[in-house]
Structure formats: structure tokens, C-alpha cells
């Protein structure tokens, strides 16, 4: 009884942390509007292990080949009007991404 209870008590947080650990070794990348259509995908899980430490949205932009044909290749800067959101808040393209972050590239906004 005590051992079983102890096992449950010990095991479940470990399983939980292990599953969180693998899920969080990546960032979730989202594209919208014209960017989504140009890239041909809307959402992708990008393993952090594929990138050097200190990954930023600007670096992801370049490494995922998201730049348009008329953009200067090899820069981390986003084109004018394109914005970044990290975890559903506007953020700088220089933000260092953490495991589990949701990063979105937003083409020029037209609401209202």
C-alpha cells in the first residue's frame, strides 16, 4: 500500500516532466496570410537541436527559408511590415527563443 502509493507519487511527476521535456525541446512556428501561402505550410514544430544556441525569430526566418525571392538573403532582419509574436505577444526579431515557445510570423496587419 505504502510502496504502491509511493511509486505512484514518484512516478507520475517524472513521467510528466519527461513528456514535457521532449515536447519542449522544440519551438512551434506559425505562419499567417500571404506568408503562409508563400511557404506552403501553416504550422511546424522546429526542434531546437537543429539550431545553434540562442535561436531568435530573425535567425529562424533565414534558416527556414521564409524570405521572399526579392529579399536579401543571409540577413536575419525581417522585411518592413512583417512582425513577430512570441507566445501570442508582439516581440522583437532578436528575442532569444526558449523551448516550448510559440513563434509566429505576421505579415502586414489589416484589421477593423
Amino acid at each position: 500500500m505504502a510502496a504502491g502509493g509511493g511509486r505512484r507519487h514518484d512516478a507520475s511527476p517524472e513521467c510528466f516532466l519527461a513528456s514535457m521535456g521532449s515536447a519542449k525541446a522544440a519551438v512551434e512556428v506559425l505562419l499567417f496570410g500571404a506568408l503562409r501561402e508563400r511557404a506552403g505550410w501553416a504550422r511546424r514544430s522546429q526542434p531546437l537541436a537543429h539550431h545553434p544556441p540562442g535561436l531568435t525569430p530573425g535567425a529562424l526566418w533565414r534558416e527556414l527559408g521564409l524570405a521572399g525571392a526579392d529579399e536579401i538573403v543571409g540577413r536575419d532582419a525581417l522585411p518592413a511590415g512583417t512582425r513577430v509574436a512570441v507566445n501570442r505577444q508582439f516581440a522583437s526579431a532578436n528575442t532569444v527563443l526558449q523551448a516550448g515557445d510559440e513563434v509566429a510570423f505576421l505579415p502586414p496587419i489589416s484589421g477593423g
Partner: protein, 153 residues
């Protein structure tokens, strides 16, 4: 978004909505919660009949970022509320495919004075236009064109 911010009623509609019915629902909620103010300002935006080049528009598609849209409108309403001393805010916004003349947006604010109400309504609408994650695509003759920003004020 903090405790003192004005209460926000937010509705994102995937199908046509009636702005006057939305206002009536908001008024019922204001009465229920005992929220009073002498000045109200409303804005209703509808789909234009022509596209950016002046050609007849067949339909307008509105994409958004579920989750961020709601969070961002809450932040914009809270900021406008603090700046103008608003007492309550209502926002309705369409997503999906819209036909010409259909309502896209309703912004309604309650304040104590007309200046605060009108400025608060305008600020919040401009926030929705430029700072909320919505994207419009105009469809004309079967061809879709993403808009690269907003029409002038």
C-alpha cells in the same frame, strides 16, 4: 490587463452578425452589472463594394490568429480604457468570408463625457486596424489578393 480596466465584452463571429443586436446585448449586460455612463460612442464598419483597384469586390476573406487575437484585443481595450477613462467596452469582429455591405467590426465604448467616448472609440478602432492580428484578402473575378496594410483614416 489589470483590475481597474473597463470590462470588455468581446465576440469573434465566424458568420454574419447584427451590430444592433450586439449593442442590445451589451446594454443588457451594462444594466445587469449596474455600469452607467452619460456618453456612448459606436463605430460600425462594413465591407466596401469595391476592391483596392476600384473593381467590384466579390468577397472579403478575414484570417486571424486564434488566441492572440483575443489576447491582443483585451490589451488594446485595456490601454484605451486607461487612456480615456472608459467605463465599458464592446468589440465584435468578423472572421471568415464576408460579402459586400456585411458588417466587419463593431466598437462601442461607454464613458462619462462625449470627448472621452469619441476619442476612446477612435483609438480602439485604430488599434484593431494596426495592432490586432487580422489579415484581409480581397476576392475579385475569382482571384484573391492579400491587402498590404489598411486604407487611410
Amino acid at each position: 490587463v489589470a483590475d481597474g480596466d473597463p470590462p470588455l465584452q468581446l465576440r469573434l463571429h465566424a458568420a454574419r452578425f447584427d451590430p444592433l443586436a450586439a449593442l442590445a446585448e451589451w446594454h443588457r449586460e451594462l444594466r445587469r452589472s449596474g455600469t452607467a455612463g452619460a456618453a456612448e460612442s459606436h463605430f460600425i464598419g462594413r465591407v466596401r463594394a469595391t476592391d483596392q483597384r476600384g473593381q467590384p469586390l466579390e468577397s472579403l476573406e478575414l484570417e486571424h490568429y486564434p488566441g492572440m487575437t483575443e489576447a491582443q484585443i483585451e490589451r488594446l481595450a485595456a490601454a484605451a480604457g486607461r487612456r480615456h477613462g472608459l467605463r465599458a467596452v464592446r468589440v465584435d469582429h468578423r472572421v471568415g468570408r464576408l460579402l459586400p455591405d456585411e458588417p466587419i467590426v463593431l466598437v462601442a465604448v461607454l464613458a462619462d463625457r462625449r470627448g472621452a467616448a469619441q476619442r476612446g472609440c477612435r483609438d480602439l478602432l485604430e488599434g484593431l486596424k494596426h495592432e490586432a492580428p487580422f489579415w484581409k484578402r480581397e476576392w475579385s473575378r475569382g482571384v484573391g489578393t492579400w491587402l498590404n496594410g489598411n486604407t487611410p483614416l
